[in-house]
């Protein structure tokens, strides 16, 4: 029987692995993921990041600083598999499969039924969100795994303090979110399983965890732009000027209408920040996120599925009903974990909370398992089969998804990057910077170029965007074109004495700009057109050599 159970578990893990591997090219990388991919490659091959710094502990992105764990895990992949998407994906696929296995183990805390454990594992294996984030470099899949491992390490028969503290310390270098979530998670678990620990051990562990947390936070705060990074990315609710303006506007309307300013202040005041935060939090936990659309734009999940397949709705509702009805203490723990883990969403308005919700999915899976167990065996099996079918079908028919999400996950830029590289061997190349929202990482990752650019004098540049990669530069809205040379149409307007001649891969914006300036129909004389998945022109490789100031 034991062998049979193990074989079935192995089968589930193999299925989890397969659904994460195939199709290997999906999802297309975002700019940030391409940046981490390239960084992983430079770290593994040269020991520097994309800005040429030797094994740094704090990295740069276009929106925030990045803690090191994700980049170094990516580096492991590129070290073994080289500069390829597969190499980047594989470490995260492995983490995703491990998460399935350890959730299977963690579910043993909630039931003695082997089928219960297996179903928890199946829910994790076939969660569209977890599959998605197992295929791209990101911090959420790492932190999810650490959370589940922490639960196991804290609740095991013999607690290994070194393992526990190592997990805490590692988590603090994965994501800034961990600085809030992990201490709260550990303390809650310690309180809940207080019988497993002596009083001294509890105090000792709690103090050490908090000290380590504080140490990492202080270390981070020594970086010049750290406060800004936290304000803009982790406490953005309080940084949001829109809320302040709205309060003032609504208040002003009342005063204009003849109401007392004091009364207006009583009604419209800073307490609204909390209300906005609460609504943002609740909105991120709404049913559509869990079962129909985890991410509207496709940055953190497929757009036509939630964290779970639609067939998970009934098990989830039944599970919630069951747990509320039973009112056992370990059931309360499940809800408490979800609340603690997702609470930081309250403070990050207007930024999306998907990467935080993902951390709580193992506990949702256990709730759903309770629900599914209430169904008759055959009905439960049908639900599971339909869930697997739905997820598999959606993940094997990704054409629409690629089309829908090409704003954040552009596929076209890969070809442009390769073409730009080929041209750059002989000429300077310009690429309009609105073809994708941040083209530099794509050029670095998808072309054979190896070029690192210094962030300048600043040791930890904040929100640094690269604009020049070797012979390729990004052309912005402000750049102007001085003159044009076109041998084919007999136009030699200048020798480009003031600027530098470049071959331009232009967006519509720059084509229109050139047309207006020189009165030439550039779109009819292009060497190559780049069309998006809907067949709409996105960029043109111009025949003419453009002179750029």
């Amino acid at each position: 029987m034991r062998v049979k159970k193990n074989l079935i578990l192995i089968l589930v893990l193999i299925l989890a692995l397969l659904i994460r591997i195939i199709p290997l090219g999906f999802p297309v990388f975002t700019a940030d993921e391409a940046r981490i991919a390239f960084r992983g490659y430079t770290l593994s091959s040269k020991g520097t990041d994309e800005l040429g710094r030797k094994f740094p502990v704090l990295f740069n992105s276009s929106t925030d600083y990045q803690l090191p764990a994700t980049s170094y895990i990516t580096a492991l992949g590129t070290l073994i598999f080289g500069k390829s998407d597969v190499g980047v994906r594989i470490p995260f696929i492995i983490l995703g499969v491990l998460l399935v296995f350890f959730t299977y183990k963690a579910s043993q805390l909630f039931s003695k039924n082997w089928q219960f454990w297996l179903i928890s594992g199946l829910f994790m294996a076939f969660s569209p969100t977890l599959i998605f984030i197992s295929k791209v470099p990101n911090e959420s899949i790492i932190l999810s795994l650490i959370i589940v491992l922490s639960l196991l390490s804290l609740t095991g028969k013999r607690q290994n303090i070194v393992v526990i503290l190592s997990l805490v310390l590692f988590s603090l270098f994965v994501s800034k979110l961990a600085w809030v979530i992990m201490p709260a998670f550990f303390l809650t678990t310690l309180i809940f399983y207080r019988k497993n620990y002596s009083k001294e051990k509890k105090i000792y562990l709690s103090t050490l965890i908090l000290m380590m947390d504080l140490f990492v936070i202080i270390l981070f705060l020594s970086v010049p732009q750290s406060a800004r990074s936290i304000a803009e990315n982790n406490l953005s609710l309080f940084d949001d000027i829109g809320i302040k303006n709205s309060i003032n506007e609504l208040r002003g309307q009342g005063i204009e209408g003849g109401w007392q300013p004091g009364l207006e202040k009583l009604l419209f005041n800073k307490s609204f920040y909390i209300m906005v935060g609460i609504f943002h939090w609740l909105s991120n936990l709404q049913p559509v996120v869990l079962f129909a659309q985890f991410d509207r734009i496709g940055e953190f999940g497929v757009t036509n599925m939630g964290a779970w397949a639609k067939f998970g709705i009934l098990p989830f509702v039944l599970g919630v009903f069951f747990l509320i009805k039973k009112d056992a203490s370990e059931h309360k723990l499940l809800f408490t974990y979800i609340l603690i883990i997702t609470m930081p969403i309250l403070f990050i308005y207007p930024n999306s909370g998907q990467k935080i919700i993902a951390l709580s999915l193992p506990f949702f899976a256990i709730i759903m398992t309770y629900g599914l167990m209430l169904l008759k065996k055959k009905v439960g099996a049908i639900f599971l089969a339909l869930m697997i079918l739905e997820v598999t079908f959606n993940l094997f028919s990704t054409n629409l998804e690629i089309k829908k999400t090409e704003n954040v996950r552009p596929i076209l830029i890969q070809q442009i990057a390769r073409d730009a590289y080929m041209i750059s061997k002989n000429d300077s190349v310009g690429i309009s910077d609105d073809i994708s929202n941040d083209s530099a990482p794509f050029i670095q990752w998808y072309s054979p170029i190896y070029f690192v650019e210094s962030g300048g004098e600043v040791e930890f540049p904040y929100k640094f965007r690269q604009s020049k990669i070797f012979n390729i530069r990004l052309v912005g809205f402000d750049n102007s074109f001085d003159d044009v040379k076109d041998d084919n149409i007999g136009l030699i307007l200048s020798d480009c004495k003031l600027g530098s001649p470049i071959r331009l891969i232009a967006s519509k914006r720059d084509v229109v700009k050139l047309q207006k300036k020189f009165g030439i129909r550039f779109d009819t004389s292009t060497e190559k057109r780049y069309q998006n998945s809907f067949g709409v022109d996105q960029a043109y490789l111009l025949k003419q050599v453009i002179c750029m100031e």
Binding site: G242, I243, S246, I247, E249, L250, Q253, G254, G257, W259, L267, F268, F272, M275, V276, I278, F279, H280, L282, S283, L285, Q286, P287, V288, F291, A292, Q293, N304, M305, K310, F321, I324, K325, D327, S397, N399, L400, K403, K404, F534
Partner: protein, 544 residues
């Protein structure tokens, strides 16, 4: 026993009075102006009461074309009767909804009483309905859904009483009441059959034990037959249903195009799957807590700083109410029925082209209020009727109520006056005051604060505020040859083309900056400016 009964009735009457006060207080002033729906229905009601025809000359129509929306006519006919008593003042159009909106307090009381046989819970529920933002908001704007809303809850309570008290007249009256509701608004026509199906399914064991158990539903079907016939045969209703159906959602249209391929079978498969996925997303979006408690009524343009169909304070009560109801023993079928009602009442709003249609979800919000009142009921029980707790609850409710009251009366007109067609009334009154001074009055109803809207149905404002006899309207109303042109008497409602129209003589032109470059016009020609409620310019009167 008598004492207890009369106490219950007194409390209920107080709540109905409170609810009535909140619905009728300054009904003429808030909302600050009759919107297009209200004006068109009012003028149609006048037309019916005077000529038995609508303004387009249709004799006693069942479906009114109005301004292209093809609405069922019960509200217009009802108003035409009220006109005979109260006259055709602006408030008249708002009276039916405010009246039935007040009666909803009673019908929800009966519904909860029938469901849980707990009068305290029923009283708390009716209290929440009495002060509910969504109930008050929609009861004050002549919204025909509200009338059906009353009949739905009345019908549900009667068919629930029928099960428990075994009086067949209750079953018959209940099904008739539900049938009546389907005539009032399309959303009810979609939802009510599902509600009945859930009722028959959940209570089937108890129903089959009754004598003549098929009789009450049969009465419902008989009363609904004319509507069924109308739905099957009336092309106007089909047109109406088509225009608001989810298939008209442009985002869905784009997705459907994107999955097209040369393979017919694959296209069929993927398009249907896309359709299903999208509809389910739309369905689940109706349960967004921020929409339900924070932004759903859309009274401001300030994101989460808005008013939801339910109050902020109902968030914790709602969660506690769910826990209470789940743990409540002995009413298993009733709980299932309540859950079914919530889930089924969301179907109609999810099948429309709008991502959220709160006006089609008022029943869902009322059911959520029932759940949150269960939360309060439980808390009161847990705190053993503590006066401190009671005082705290009253204080929180009062603060939240004052906030909603302020946003509704003060901020809403500032933020959303353009959606109330403000200042169409002032514009039209002015044009009528200038009627004798010009040969022609041209009105281009393109307007807006942030982006241009076309104010369709402007002819209703002209008809109503000009006291224009509907009989004359029916004769004078013609479609002109110019873009968007409607001709009525001296009025030409149409798109202005300034290079041509600037040469017109003895003409009054009403136009917004979206249609004419106002800053390039001789200032002496501009004889009047009309502003939105917030003071931004909306229209200019130009004398040619």
């Amino acid at each position: 026993m008598h004492g207890i009964i009369s106490n219950k009735i007194v409390i209920l009457l107080i709540l109905i009075f409170l609810g009535g006060f909140l619905r009728f207080f300054k009904l003429e002033e808030y909302p600050v102006q009759l919107n297009l729906d209200e004006v068109s229905q009012l003028y149609e009601a006048i037309s019916i009461s005077q000529t038995s025809k609508d303004v387009y000359g249709n004799n006693m129509p069942l479906v009114f074309p109005l301004f292209g929306v093809y609405a069922p006519g019960h509200y217009i006919y009802l108003t035409s009767l009220i006109i005979k008593v109260f006259g055709a003042g602006e408030i008249t159009i708002r009276i039916p909804a405010a009246f039935f909106g007040t009666l909803v307090i009673l019908s929800v009381y009966l519904f909860v009483l029938a469901l849980f046989n707990n009068w305290k819970l029923a009283i708390l529920s009716s209290f929440f309905i009495a002060i509910s933002p969504s109930e008050i908001f929609y009861s004050r704007k002549s919204f025909e859904y509200i009338n059906g809303h009353f009949f739905v809850f009345l019908g549900l309570s009667l068919i629930l009483f029928y099960i428990k008290r075994d009086r067949i007249w209750m079953g018959i009256a209940g099904f008739i009441s539900l049938a009546i509701s389907t005539y009032t608004y399309t959303a009810h026509a979609v939802t009510v059959p599902f509600l009945i199906a859930a009722y028959l399914f959940i209570f089937k064991d108890k129903l089959v034990k009754k004598k003549l158990y098929a009789l009450p539903p049969l009465f419902g079907v008989i009363f609904a037959l004319p509507l069924i016939y109308l739905i099957l045969t009336n092309s106007d209703l089909h047109f109406r249903a088509n225009t608001i159906f989810i298939s008209k959602d442009p985002e869905l249209g784009t997705l459907m195009d994107a999955v097209k391929s040369e393979n017919f079978l694959l296209t069929f498969l993927f398009q249907n799957k896309t359709y299903f996925d999208y509809t389910l997303q739309r369905y689940l979006y109706q349960f967004d807590p921020s929409y339900i408690f924070g932004t759903g009524l859309d009274l401001t343009n300030r994101g989460y700083l808005d008013v939801g169909p339910l109050y902020y304070f109902q968030i914790p009560l709602f969660i506690i109410g769910i826990i209470f109801l789940i743990r409540l023993r002995s009413v298993s079928a009733e709980k299932k029925f309540l859950l079914s009602l919530i889930l089924l009442s969301v179907i109609a709003p999810s099948l429309t082209f709008e991502s959220h249609s709160p006006h089609r979800s008022v029943m869902t919000f009322a059911l959520f209020s029932v759940v949150s009142s269960a939360g309060l009921y439980w808390l009161i029980k847990l705190t053993k009727n503590s006066l401190i707790f009671f005082g705290l609850v009253v204080l929180i409710i009062f603060i939240n109520f004052i906030y909603v009251f302020f946003v509704y009366t003060v901020n809403f007109p500032y933020e959303k006056s353009e959606y109330l067609y403000y200042p169409f009334k002032n514009v039209v009154l002015y044009t009528w005051s200038q009627y004798q001074n010009f040969d022609t009055i041209v009105f281009d109803p393109q307007f807006g604060e942030g982006y241009p809207l076309i104010g369709v149905g402007a002819h209703y404002y002209i008809g109503y505020y000009g006291d224009y006899p509907p009989g004359m309207f029916q004769k004078e109303y013609t479609i002109g040859s110019k873009p968007r042109e409607i001709i009525l008497d001296k009025f030409s409602i149409r798109q202005i083309y300034w290079p041509e129209d600037k040469d017109l003589k003895n003409t009054l032109i009403i136009v917004s900056p979206w249609s004419v470059p106002i800053d390039q016009i001789d200032k002496n020609l501009i004889i009047r400016q009309f502003n939105f409620y917030n003071g931004m310019p909306a229209f200019f009167a130009i004398k040619l």
